[in-house]
């Protein structure tokens, strides 16, 4: 499982649309061989079909698709946006953080979601992710040091 390590985090990304934001987060996973390109298309497609419910919490979008759409191994990437983007959610817009989830059908999937909940369920940590200017700051938050 790859969870928000340095290669899977991009800070200050400049994007204009939700689709572009999802593709950026997906691209990090593609580069590391975690997913195939089809999975990125599936995440964008899912956002377009199912709507903005992937904005799970204020300011946080979590695009994902079904594991069989092209996940090689489980992983999570993060793109911090330079300027927030409207995804069309009634109460959680605008989005500052895009967390792409490549799940699997295994037990590992639950472990990933639990780790994510620990970080994203804590407002101080979320604020830290939004304002971080270096990977070191992100790493401390992810590893539970702050």
């Amino acid at each position: 499982m790859r969870f928000l390590d340095e290669k899977l985090v991009e800070l200050g990304a400049v994007v204009k649309t939700p689709q572009e934001a999802i593709r950026r987060a997906g691209f990090l996973l593609v580069q590391e061989g975690i997913i195939k390109e089809e999975y990125v298309l599936a995440m964008v497609d899912s956002y377009e079909k199912q709507g903005p419910y992937i904005v799970l919490a204020p300011g946080i979008a979590m695009p994902h698709a079904r594991p069989e759409m092209g996940v090689n191994s489980p992983g999570v990437s993060l793109v911090q946006l330079a300027t927030p983007v409207e995804f069309g959610h009634s109460s959680n817009d605008p989005v500052y953080l895009v967390v792409a989830l490549a799940g699997s059908t295994s037990e590992e999937h639950v472990g990933i979601l639990q780790r994510l909940s620990l970080v994203l369920g804590n407002q101080d940590k979320v604020d830290g992710l939004k304002s971080a200017v270096s990977y070191k700051e992100i790493q401390k938050i992810v590893e539970g040091l702050v």
Binding site: S46, K49, Q50, G51, P52, Y53, I54, L56, A57, P58, I60, M62, H64, A65, R66, P67, H89, S90, S91, N92, L101, G103, H109, V110, L113, Q114, L116, S117, L120, G121
Partner: protein, 90 residues
């Protein structure tokens, strides 16, 4: 009592929501059957309560279950407040 956590795909989002619900229920000592699934499967699944986002709630308005809307899936406080009605009935 049966509670469904519902999202668009039934994979990531609803599982996170289910974990938040289960944590809140166990803290309250409430025993319930909690399951997670996608919105189309949920439409045809019997339940007493459905917890989902405002975006998906309108797809489930014909369901027998009472639909409870949660905005922040990670926020246990919000899930707890949203489920308050369930606790009061017990």
């Amino acid at each position: 009592m049966k509670i469904l956590a519902v999202c668009g795909l039934g994979q990531g989002t609803s599982l996170i929501l289910r974990m938040s619900i289960e944590t809140v229920l166990s803290e309250k000592g409430v025993v319930a059957d909690v399951d997670h699934m996608d919105v189309s499967l949920a439409a045809g699944t019997d339940a007493d309560y459905i917890v989902t986002s405002n975006e998906l709630a309108q797809n489930l308005r014909n369901h027998r279950a009472k639909v409870i809307v949660v905005n922040n899936y990670f926020d246990k406080k919000e899930v707890e407040t949203a489920l308050q009605e369930v606790f009061e009935k017990l």
